[in-house]
């Protein structure tokens, strides 16, 4: 039986879990918002990683067949999306209950309460099918992993369609309901859920458009075409394999907890590692030539120097100020009433960079408004702001010893294209053109990956296994 290792990175804003196999390959990833309850967030991330790992094992087991039959790949990918939707649906129902409960407690006057309940029901009726559609047809699960973000976007959309006087009370009900719903770990039976997902898929494929050539659906591709009329056969063939992975005993051989909230994890002391070491180790595993790592997370920025083994030789961290970190960007997005995901792309449209003095969460908001009043374009202001963030990170890097080849950027903020753009620019300006900059799609999971790798090496007993510098992906 294969051995698996778990790394849990309990960050300040997101919790990540990664499962690796004996070859240091990531086979499961799980991520969730970290709100008030750290240990629940860690459990949720771990559950997610375990489900994801089952799908990875399925794909691995069927590697050769998938190559020969692309419709298998499509079926499994769709199945995972629908599986995620099934989970989502249960959570959504849970949120629904919470909304009703809050409404009951909050509005003491009967008529008002009834009115509010009616609105809530209508809102739910409106957004539920939209979310389902996005999961089934638009790959929502892989685009956004956060329950809160997905639902709040749709909820806001519906609330904004209503009379303005309803905004305040409906948002209050939302605020009071989302945390208890989000902070509850729902234990799913994988097998039951995956079968439900298979049934749901059957429905989806039955309703596939008649022809791929009508071009009505942009998501209709060649693999889908192969499935049309053939899905019964595909699902029958795969059922046994799916049952196998559902029953697979996912024994975690060893685990390591890291991140901001690591002390809260119910792990023994020797299974807790600093996120500085984990990020560096994870980044080095993916890019073995890495000598400098920059990690920008939710609350902190770390500039880390590593040796040939991926072990930290020195590091510097931001002190008592989260300017430039994920939370800061979230704050700026709120100021501009846009989502965090839109921030970077908007900054990419900058024609110039407006000089931003305040890389301070509190003052930046005021400066942003002032500059807007002075007629500066939003994109240009954001360009300057993103540049300012990187300048701040560069000073921290300088304190830690500078940039050495190769340079790896990790953490959630590495998903922001404007941050990447200015980072590249400033690294080149300060340290020359010969620095190779690495940014992996799994950048946010690097800490959890490092943790899992420490777990595999049993931390104390067997470190220089890292010497092989084997790449994982």
């Amino acid at each position: 039986m294969s051995k698996y290792y778990l790394g849990v990175d309990l960050g300040s804003t997101t919790s990540k879990a990664v499962i690796i196999n004996e070859a240091d390959e990531i086979i499961g990833r799980g991520i969730t918002n970290t709100r008030a309850n750290y240990s629940v967030a860690a459990d949720i991330a771990r559950d997610e990683a375990t489900y994801n790992a089952r799908f990875s094992v399925l794909k691995k087991n069927l590697e050769d067949e998938i190559k020969a039959k692309p419709e298998y790949r499509k079926y499994i990918a769709d199945l995972e999306s629908v599986f995620q939707y099934e989970q989502f649906k249960v959570k959504l129902d849970r949120l629904g209950e919470e909304l009703v409960k809050t409404c009951d407690n909050f509005f003491t006057e009967k008529t008002l309460r009834e009115t509010m309940l009616n609105h809530l029901r209508a809102i739910r009726r409106a957004f539920k099918p939209k979310i389902k559609h996005d999961y089934l047809y638009n790959d929502l699960g892989s685009r956004n992993q956060f329950f809160r973000d997905i639902v709040s976007e749709k909820y806001n959309e519906e609330v904004n369609k209503l009379d303005a006087t309803l905004f305040e009370p409906l948002m209050t009900v939302w605020d009071k309901s989302i945390s208890p719903a989000e902070n509850e770990r729902i234990k799913f039976d994988f097998k039951e859920l995956v079968h439900k997902a298979m049934d749901e898929l059957k429905e989806k494929y039955k309703n596939l458009p008649e022809s791929s050539l009508d071009n009505k659906s942009v998501h209709f591709d060649a693999e889908m075409n192969l499935l049309r009329g053939n899905f019964d056969h595909v699902s029958d063939t795969l059922r046994k394999h799916i049952d196998d992975i559902a029953e697979l005993d996912f024994e975690i051989e060893n685990m390591t907890g890291t991140g901001y909230g690591r002390a809260l994890l119910p792990f023994p002391q020797e299974c807790i590692r600093s996120e500085i070491l984990c990020h560096a180790f994870g980044a080095h595993a993916v890019f073995p030539e890495t000598r400098t790592v920059l990690d920008i997370g939710g609350q902190d920025t770390k500039a880390i120097q590593v040796d040939k083994y991926g072990l930290v030789t020195s590091f510097q961290m931001n002190d008592r100020c989260a300017a430039g970190c994920g939370r800061y960007l979230g704050y700026i997005a709120d100021e501009l009433s846009i989502s965090l995901n839109e921030l970077g792309p908007l900054a990419m449209e900058a024609q110039k960079e407006v000089n931003i003095c305040s890389t301070c969460t509190v003052f930046a908001g005021a400066e942003l408004r002032e500059l807007t009043n002075l007629g500066e374009k939003r994109a240009d202001i954001l360009g300057g702001l993103h540049k300012a963030i990187i300048m701040r990170a560069m000073s921290l890097i300088a304190r830690s010893g500078g940039v050495f080849n190769e340079f790896t950027f990790t953490g959630g903020v590495a998903r922001n294209p404007a941050v990447i753009k200015y980072l590249g620019q400033l690294v080149r300006e300060n340290y020359g053109d010969n620095i190779k900059i690495n940014i992996h799609t799994d950048s946010i999971f690097m800490g959890a990956l490092g943790g899992a790798m420490f777990a595999r090496r049993n931390i104390k007993a067997d470190l220089p296994g890292a010497k092989t510098g084997k790449a994982v992906a």
Binding site: L311, L463, P464
Partner: protein, 433 residues
């Protein structure tokens, strides 16, 4: 206590406690007994000269750190800020001023007497000048004696510098002492006091060097600040001081012979996992918590620069009773914070190597320029010269608002884990070689 080892340990602590109690009691009665009071600073202090005139010393920065340990500094600092001192001013200064504004009640709860003389003997820390300007306004009746100490810009003390300082001692400082006390300067008395100093200094160096043992029987930073008290402040020339260090040496030697580890507030350490050299003053407001992070993880400080603020004796300097004034001039210029940065780097490098340290850690103090300036350079240099991992944390002397426990613990844990990994690698590389 039943355990004889602990009973012995306690003896030096009891002695020090008695010394301090006696001193504060004398201070509280100074006006009745007619003793004159001299306010001065720890680095480069002229305690033998103060004693030669039978004056009682008061160290404002010691009062501040004591207030910090007793959780009083936060209030004092706020009071000083209310009267206009900025957030960035040295928190020792603000704590001292806050204490004055609150009736000048000293750390033992007894009122501190006003100064008859404000003696500034060291200027490597330019804040001291401003501090005394402030004190001079608060105590307008006090005499002010200012001894200008040349900074060791070129890394050495020249005869011209010594002559320059002796001239000031003769023409400025001693006449002020004579004026305030009404006594004539007695060189023989000063010589006698300096003889005691030499004896105490010899023991002190032997105690510090005990940390070269593996395991180290002392913690040369957290416990070191207690050990350094008598010699670096009020007692250096006194026979009690010699007695104290004689006793302390006996205790430490016994611990070393038995291969015992340092004693912490929670008992004896069990395992020495890391040996560190530390630069910078400790944080006083959370001193115990701060120390605990270290001993919980088995980190022993084998050498520190902070314990050298009152004199770098372990590098060979001793008072010279045959040339009393020249001797105290040299002492004054030789204190750690009067050294230039290359000298500090050399000293730390020596400590890392001689004490076989696994790492070098800096506690950078937000409001202390004389320590913090150049620390990042020091860090890089030490890393390059010795190859040991370096760590960097930030806190403050006595401002509780600038001690973030979670932040510091996170960094220290990361740093200790980094050291641990390195040890494993080094051991394995050795095996392979």
């Amino acid at each position: 206590m039943a355990n004889p080892k602990e009973a012995v340990k306690e003896k030096s602590m009891v002695i020090q406690k008695e010394m301090l109690a006696k001193q504060f009691s004398e201070l509280s009665k100074a006006k009745e007994t007619g003793k004159k009071v001299c306010y001065t600073f720890v680095p480069g202090n002229l305690i033998e000269l103060i004693m030669a005139f039978d004056m009682l010393p008061v160290y404002p920065e010691i009062n501040a750190l004591q207030s910090g340990m007793r959780k009083k500094s936060g209030g004092y600092i706020k009071d000083a800020e209310k009267v206009g001192h900025s957030e960035d001013v040295c928190t020792y200064v603000k704590c001292d001023i806050g204490m004055f504004l609150n009736g000048n009640i000293g750390p033992t709860g007894e009122k501190l007497p006003e100064p008859d003389l404000l003696l500034l003997s060291y200027t490597g820390c330019f804040t001291f000048l401003k501090w005394f300007e402030n004190l001079n306004r608060l105590y307008p009746n006090a005499e002010v004696a200012m001894l200008h100490t040349p900074y060791q810009e070129d890394g050495k003390i020249t005869q011209e510098q010594i002559d320059y300082m002796v001239k000031q001692l003769k023409e400025e400082v001693i006449p002020k002492f004579e004026k305030v006390t009404g006594k004539k300067f007695d060189p023989a008395k000063l010589t006698g006091l300096l003889q005691n100093s030499v004896e105490a200094e010899n023991y002190w160096v032997k105690i510090l060097e005990m940390a070269k043992n593996k395991p180290s029987p002392i913690d040369a930073y957290f416990a070191g600040v207690y050990y350094m008290g008598p010699i670096n402040t009020s007692f250096r020339g006194s026979p009690e001081c010699v007695e104290y260090y004689k006793e302390l040496y006996k205790e430490v030697k016994e611990r070393a012979d038995k291969k015992l580890l340092p004693v912490t507030p929670e008992g004896e350490m069990e395992k020495e996992r890391f040996r560190l050299v530390v630069e910078g003053p400790p944080n006083w407001t959370n001193f115990r918590e701060f120390w605990k992070i270290f001993y919980d993880l088995g980190a022993v400080i084998v050498a520190s620069t902070y314990t050298k603020v009152g004199g770098v004796y372990d590098q060979g300097y001793r008072q010279d009773p045959s040339k009393p004034l020249e001797s105290i001039a040299t002492y004054c210029m030789g204190c750690y914070t009067n050294l230039n940065l290359p000298q500090r780097v050399d000293l730390i490098e020596k400590y890392v190597k001689e004490y076989k340290a696994d790492g070098f850690l800096i506690n950078s103090i937000k409001s202390c320029n004389s320590f913090s300036a150049g620390q990042l350079m020091i860090m890089r240099e030490i890393e390059q010269r010795t190859g040991v991992p370096v760590g960097f944390i930030e806190s403050d002397l006595v401002d509780p608002r600038y001690f973030s426990y979670a932040n510091i613990k996170n960094r220290l844990e990361s740093y200790f884990q980094m050291l641990e990994q390195r040890k494993i690698i080094l051991e394995q590389e050795q095996v392979q070689a």
